[in-house]
């Protein structure tokens, strides 16, 4: 029985919504106790946090690790190191690999690779339909037995409502969580920007922000019909929010996420066709960004994800329309999120509610909180430390971050999984 005491810490407790200095004691990889009084108990080892922030480690739903298929873009090893350096202690991986993770056999391969190579907790998701083709549902039961924590076809919208309604109905019987991508694919096909003046000036094929509302309305209707558990991967527009609010008020088992890029960037950041800013759905207008930030503050949007999507240099060094979508973000998630703290939009407990507590709750994980009995998955960070991001310092194999060269504030000092330090030196 060894105990470790973190003293002089600024404890960020998203469940209580508090941000105060105190101490936290861990024992055998589990949080044993915490307090805000001046006299902490004795422990075998003491770590002085020097007033820096100690928060529950981030649980990131929707991380793309490119195994199997494109290991040169990201492996479990490199993704795990990036996560550790970013304060992300649990990654929930996407199944949109090549081949997709749509059978227990592929899932077992992935789980084995993950446990061998990654220092953080890795929880795999599986596809909802075979080959993400939207025609036949996968073996949801077997996949759950093999460890799948949620089911999603990622950015492939299941257009056949009959297929989706059956998959949702079947998932309900197993209590499986289904993650959808709210988007009307008829409108968004080929689009690389959000409709509006900017897209028109740049001559880019664009999709109306309304396409997200349409996809959302459909998904909500199907959810109401089937009564499953649903999470929306990314809500990025103001016009989708009232529909989401109604669905929640009506008692549907629905939660919503958004990506860090849609919270901190807008369409104008694309500027002269900068392909590192090409994400899916495309970056939105500033009004949409503000509305989504407010929705995270109010709790209407539950979860912030990195939507970490590694792309190699070749797939980004192309004309904008031809370039691949997506950005790496495991390591930049926290400093980017802290922009919202420094701008006064969100408090630290609000941020960690969306990055740690809510995703853990949605997946029924014991982590994501500062509370006795919870796993000691923790991140220690300096919320104020300034730096200029150099993308070549990132741990990911792919360095396609839109924040390259930008001024950031907030550095991860150390990360812990089950009480073991996996990054940093405190």
């Amino acid at each position: 029985m060894t105990t470790t005491l973190f003293t002089n810490a600024r404890l960020i407790d998203p469940a209580e919504g508090t941000d105060a200095s105190g101490w936290l004691m861990i024992e055998n990889g589990v949080i044993r106790d915490m307090g805000y009084d001046a006299a902490p108990p004795n422990a075998d080892a003491v770590r002085d946090c020097a007033g820096k922030c100690l928060a529950p480690g981030i649980v990131d739903i929707g991380v793309k690790v490119c195994e199997p298929g494109e290991r040169h873009k990201e492996s479990y090893r490199s993704a795990g190191l990036a996560a550790a350096a970013g304060g992300v202690t649990t990654i929930v991986t996407r199944p949109d690999t090549d081949p997709p993770i749509d059978s227990p056999e592929v899932l077992e391969f992935v789980a084995r690779r993950a446990s061998e190579a990654a220092p953080v907790n890795v929880l795999p998701m599986a596809t909802l339909t075979k080959s993400r083709a939207g025609q036949e549902m996968t073996e949801i039961g077997f996949l759950m037995d093999a460890g799948a924590v949620a089911f999603t076809d990622c950015d492939h919208v299941v257009t056949d409502t009959r297929v989706l309604s059956r998959a949702l109905g079947y998932a309900r019987s197993l209590g499986a969580l289904v993650i959808t991508h709210p988007q009307e694919p008829g409108l968004s096909k080929g689009a690389t920007a959000t409709s509006g003046k900017f897209a028109s000036l740049r001559g880019l094929p664009s999709v109306s922000a309304m396409a997200e509302r349409m996809g959302l309305d459909r998904d909500i209707a199907l959810l109401e019909m089937t009564g499953a558990r649903m999470h929306l991967d990314q809500i990025t527009t103001a016009r989708a929010l009232p529909a989401l609010e109604r669905a929640k008020r009506n008692g549907l088992d629905i939660t919503a996420g958004t990506s860090i890029h849609h919270l901190t960037l807008n369409e104008l950041d694309v500027a002269d066709y900068r392909t590192f800013f090409k994400v899916k759905p495309p970056l939105r207008a500033e009004d949409d960004r503000k509305a989504v930030v407010e929705a995270v503050a109010s709790g209407l949007i539950d979860i912030i994800s990195s939507m970490h999507t590694p792309q190699d240099e070749e797939s980004k060094r192309l004309p904008y329309e031809e370039a691949a979508s997506g950005a790496v973000a495991l390591q930049t998630l926290l400093p980017a999120a802290l922009r919202l703290y420094h701008s006064g939009d969100l408090s630290l407990p609000q941020l960690f509610r969306a990055m740690s507590l809510n995703p853990a709750r949605r997946l029924d994980l014991p982590t994501g909180r500062l509370e006795a009995g919870a796993p000691a998955d923790l991140v220690l960070f300096d919320a104020d430390a300034p730096f200029i991001l150099d993308r070549f310092t990132l741990q990911s194999k792919s360095r396609n971050t839109p924040f390259d060269g930008q001024r950031m504030q907030g550095k991860v000092l150390a990360s812990y999984v089950n009480g073991t330090r996996i990054f940093g030196d405190l």
């Binding site: 409709s195 509006g196 003046k197 900017f198 897209a199 028109s200 000036l201 740049r202 001559g203 880019l204 094929p205 664009s206 109306s208 002269d272 066709y273 070749e314 060094r317 192309l318 004309p319 904008y320 329309e321 031809e322």
Partner: protein, 316 residues
């Protein structure tokens, strides 16, 4: 003054003074081109490469002639038939060409922004000869020169641009240029052919052609691509011609001395009545072609002057 740009990628970065500078110089090249001996040495010894990733006869010929009249060594690369088919990326193609030390690179590409991307990778001056739906700056400049010569000024004119605005790089560049020169711009066409966010462009939008043409000084028609004619964007060719094709009846709503323009190639009987297009009292379509050569000579001349110097304040 010196022309403060390294490339001509679009109208967007140009100021009114730079636009006027190109047009003034182009005026002098119009005179040169009308002489028996049509030759100057502004580009003597320089190499101009035309890279057209998209079919073009008129624009490519115009750039070629412009370069040759100024004494450049001009090479045309038929990019459609070449390395792109073998899987080479745009940047690799650009780097390969760059190694041959061209001075002027004229590029047309089917994707918006492709010419910007290429310009970042080469050491020479790049001229955008049309990229996707983004910009076609020399077309807007030749239109501006045509208007200026026909109307005696390039400001405070009422100018209607009609047709497929959404997919037209010519329309984008013209809206930008004519706006910078303080003209009143009206866009006329069915809503399916209007770009999104058009309300924020500082233009007036009409879906009734007669109302839109009422009292204008200039009527610019745009080409309607064949593949957009059937069902997708408009119900049919004949309904489009009935509502948005320019004929003498609709032109009657414009000012009596209004000029008619078209960037070519024309679809006679689709967007414009054939007789009207040939009416030398109204149509300046042939002048536009002539101005095209002069404007391209002027643009390449100005960019060549910045090639080997680093004048203060050179911008993209």
């Amino acid at each position: 003054m010196t022309f403060p740009h390294r490339h001509l990628l679009g109208i967007e970065p140009l100021g009114p003074a730079a636009i006027s500078e190109i047009l003034d110089l182009a005026d002098s090249y119009v005179d040169l081109n009308r002489r028996d001996i049509k030759h100057a040495d502004a580009l003597a010894g320089l190499t101009q490469i035309n890279m057209f990733f998209e079919n073009s006869t008129r624009t490519q010929a115009s750039f070629e002639l412009a370069g040759k009249r100024l004494g450049a060594d001009v090479m045309n690369m038929a990019m459609q038939a070449s390395s792109i088919k073998k899987g080479e990326t745009l940047i690799d193609t650009a780097m390969t060409l760059n190694a041959m030390h061209p001075d002027l690179l004229v590029v047309r590409h089917p994707h918006s922004g492709a010419v910007d991307l290429l310009a970042q990778k080469v050491n020479c001056a790049v001229l955008n000869a049309g990229d996707g739906r983004h910009e076609h700056p020399t077309q807007a400049l030749l239109d501006a020169l045509t208007i200026r010569r026909a109307k005696g000024r390039l400001h405070r004119l009422n100018i209607a641009i009609c047709g497929d605005i959404a997919h037209s790089r010519v329309a984008r560049s013209n809206i930008l240029l004519l706006g910078k020169m303080e003209n009143r711009i009206r866009l006329i066409g069915p809503p399916t052919l209007m770009p999104s966010g058009i309300a924020d462009f500082g233009v007036e939008v009409y879906d009734d052609m007669r109302a839109g043409l009422d009292g204008v000084d200039v009527v610019m028609m745009l080409r309607l691509q064949r593949e957009r004619m059937d069902g997708g964007f408009i119900p049919s060719e004949r309904e489009y011609y009935h509502r948005f094709g320019l004929d003498s009846e609709k032109l009657g709503y414009a000012k009596d001395d209004a000029i008619v323009m078209h960037p070519g190639p024309m679809n006679r009987g689709v967007e414009i009545d054939g007789t009207l297009a040939d009416d030398i009292n109204r149509s300046v379509i042939q002048e536009q072609v002539e101005m095209g050569v002069a404007v391209r000579m002027a643009a390449m001349d100005l960019l060549a002057r910045n090639l080997h110097s680093e004048p203060a304040g050179v911008m993209v």
